[in-house]
């Protein structure tokens, strides 16, 4: 009886995992965006020009700025939607880590050049 009460009290104190899930998934998406924008700018002169936000740094300034803004926007939206909920973290972890892994691979020029 006393064990049951303790378990119930412990569970009640657990903070919903939604905020953490939002941070994890958005970090995966933001990382992937860095790689995606780098490839897009490399393949298209038009996109490359669009990404030149600061001329001395070239397209890198726009690729990273847009990716960071996208990451923060996705994070804010997901956090707003999930902050009080418990979500399936295992699936979100897999998606986020796969996106992060792809980002590492796609930023490697010989791999990025395959597209």
């Amino acid at each position: 009886m006393s064990t049951q009460v303790a378990v119930t009290q412990e569970n009640a104190a657990v903070v919903a995992n939604g905020s953490g899930a939002a941070a994890i998934l958005s970090a995966g998406i933001g990382s992937f965006a860095v790689a995606l924008f780098a490839i897009a700018a490399d393949k298209s002169a038009f996109i490359k020009d669009l990404f030149v936000f600061y001329k001395p740094t070239g397209a890198l300034s726009g690729e990273t700025t847009v990716a960071i803004l996208l990451w923060l926007a996705v994070w804010a939206i997901l956090n707003w939607r999930w902050r009080k909920r418990n979500v399936s973290l295992q699936r979100i972890n897999v998606i986020a880590l796969v996106l992060l892994g792809f980002s590492l691979l796609l930023t490697f020029p010989p791999v990025g050049d395959l597209f």
Binding site: A27, P56, A96, L104
Partner: protein, 190 residues
């Protein structure tokens, strides 16, 4: 003993922020490992949980300082275009690397990878710092959050290692140098 302003900035970026991040990374693993490895996470004190959040936040600050100084201070010097007919390319590291078949790939693979992969680091570690601060003691109740934290911290270290390695090799083959000379120590007259 003198150093140019560009060398000084390169030093602050690479040896200051970047290397410190990598060093801090081993500390982060040491802090996270006991929480990750055991079925029942090691019982850290509330103070220890708070410290983890502060520690990862300091790493996030270092990561942001590294990529911002690299992208907006040093990279413009690295990629500056040499005027047509310039014979001595020492002040134009990218042009210098591309002018020799033996060093070309340091730019085409090394810098091209470094300049993008480095940006994964602040994203990953900021997320880790947020989760550690937000959940603190409650991380004990979220094994999946701990897993993600560990995965992102390790990956951020891997990405920072790639950027650091290529940064060092690029600077060895075509150093970013120039600007005003800063005298660090006045030499004695012989």
């Amino acid at each position: 003993m003198e150093i140019t302003t560009r060398s000084l900035w390169t030093l602050v970026h690479g040896m200051g922020f970047g290397a410190l991040y990598l060093l801090a990374g081993s500390g982060a693993i040491a802090l996270l490992y006991p929480r990750f490895s055991a079925d029942e996470p090691a019982s850290a004190s509330p103070k220890g949980d708070r410290f983890l959040g502060i520690y990862l936040s300091a790493m996030a600050a270092l990561a942001w300082l590294t990529v911002l100084s690299g992208t907006y201070v040093i990279y413009p010097w690295y990629r500056a275009t040499a005027p047509a007919g310039t014979a001595n390319l020492a002040a134009y590291p990218r042009a210098l690397l591309l002018s020799h078949p033996a060093t070309k790939q340091w730019h085409l693979i090394g810098m091209e990878w470094k300049e993008h992969v480095a940006w994964l680091v602040p994203i990953a570690i900021t997320m880790a710092a947020f989760v550690a601060l937000k959940y603190a003691r409650d991380l004990r109740n979220h094994p999946q959050l701990r897993n993600a934290l560990y995965g992102f911290v390790i990956t951020s270290l891997f990405a920072a290692g790639i950027a650091g390695f290529f940064g060092a090799m690029l600077d060895k083959n075509a150093p970013v140098d120039g600007g005003q000379t800063v005298r660090l120590v006045q030499g004695e007259k012989e």
